[in-house]
Amino acid sequence: MNDIRPLLEIQNLAITITVAREPRLLVRDVSLSVQAGQALGVVGESGSGKSLTAKAVMRLLPDRSQVGGRVLVDGRDVLSLARKDLARLRRREIAMIHQDPRSAMNPVRTIGDFLSEGVRDRPADERRQLAVDALAEVGIPDADRRFAQYPHQLSGGLLQRVMIAGVLMPGPRLILADEPTTALDVTTQSEVMAVLSDLQHRRGVGMVFITHDLDLAAAVTDNLGVMYAGSIVEIGPTASVQTAPLHPYTVALMTSRPSTTNVEPLKTIPGRPVAAYEVGAGCSFAPRCPFAQALCREEAPELQHIGDHKVACHRAKELAGHIEEKLEVLS
């Protein structure tokens, strides 16, 4: 497809974290790539490992963790970078937007402090101008007043916009947005998403947008990946994943969204989402999949190309296009 080297390329990422002296596999085998100027959505429920994947890109994992695979930013493997280079990468190249701005920002430091921290290596007057411009870019006009305020004085939506402004000030080329709107109410969500998406397009930066909200992801991304139990089960251009999902899990996610027009019983996926370490042999979704067969329980499927996207399902080709009907029949 693309001959240009991707901005971000994750190859076979695996993450194990030691919790209470037990090693737990949380990310099994994730491979994805993001081109400059494009947005990749990563959708999954809690425990699917999506946040950890993002953190791995910046090597922000907890102390007691082991990482396998490669994370290439512009061709360089982040996981084997020297400290100094890693710091420069974090300072200039990659920016992370966290889920809850209130806990992600230091409550005893002013907004001004927060903003100027990211560009400490620039001279003072340049810092100030950059901060004013950044705030303007996210739609916050009276910068001087804001500089003196503290995080607790701002609403959630405003604070998240400040966070976005702050991490984008150094002009990074890749944005990792880890559930940036989950902590906000619905109306604020769309405002903040609009700001973020607009910024991404205007600056031509790459973005990984992590969320559990399918609709949100579909609205702002070019490509969409679905994660379950620590690995990617389906990934491809957003339009086709959304209109023609191939993996039973993806289909189930789509159909389980409550309808805003009809009154009908809520369709749910039986069972609960599992983490990577809880998966036995075979396909991770098999225990909950209405289409599971013997093969599914024995052998874990690999990602294979079907049409313009990739799916990890033994029966994908066979079920393609008929899944929704079959789901209706089964429920």
Partner: protein, 325 residues
Amino acid sequence: MASDPTRVRWVRRGRSHLTRWVIVPLVTILAASLVLYLALSLAPGDPVVAILGDKATAAQYAALRHQLGLDQPVLIRYVHWLGGAVHGDFGDSLLYRQSVASLLGPRIGITLSIAFYAAVIFVTAGVLLGILGGMVRRLSAPVAAVSGIGVAVPVFVAIQVLVAVFAVNLGWFPVLGAGDGGLDRLHHLTLPAITLAIGWSAYIAQVTRSAVAEQRRSPHVETARGRGLDSAWVFRHHILRNAAIPIVTVSALAVAGMFAGAVVVEYAFGLGGLGSLLVSSVGSKDYNVVLAIFLILLIVFVVVTTVIDLVQVWLDPRLRERQGP
């Protein structure tokens, strides 16, 4: 023009600040001193009998009682006492036959010296130890263990151990007395100060360690590291700065609480400070002295807690707008 809203706000702020930092502490001291006076007035035993012995006549008792003003109602006596206290006149000591004020004078200096000396030691040692325990993962458990034992060792036990080792065995420090000024004073007060400081440094180390460790794990520190900020900056402006809030609070509380230990230390080392005077006065029912010393302690406490309040608001901007919880 109509009243300027900013100015009105400023005045209202100023008035509530005055109330909070000046009036409330004053009222607290007054109320507590009243409780103190009333409590001591309930003590059994008649000072008049203590002075004249039990062979005097009823008339003599009555005369002395009138002379000392003891035949008036409690509240009036309180007001008289308070009035005198404001001028530094606490009456006379029954035991030493001299004015209480003259008794207290030289002793305050000794007590303050010990308190200051000990405070410097325990704040420095405690915070340093706590930072080490909080930042260096391998030292976390050892620091926790050592400080856990340190807080359990009472002052009077620590005294024995330190005296046995340093004064008796090694002969580095004198065992009794406060010395004569300057370097000799410092030499004499070192062992008492260290003894007093052990328990409190352990306590401060515990609080510091957990505060620092908590900050180190916090999301905002992760954000800071994620922005590529160097560890020295992160430590200073994110970890230490935030941990300072509980650390400073606890240190100030420790300074207040230390006075209890100072009493024990002064008694054990025979230092002529307020603490040892308090013990002997309580034993000999010399109430004028007891009252005076407790009033001083009360004032010290209220001042310290008010300062804690002030410092907390200064350090934590979240506390600034509201007065309530």
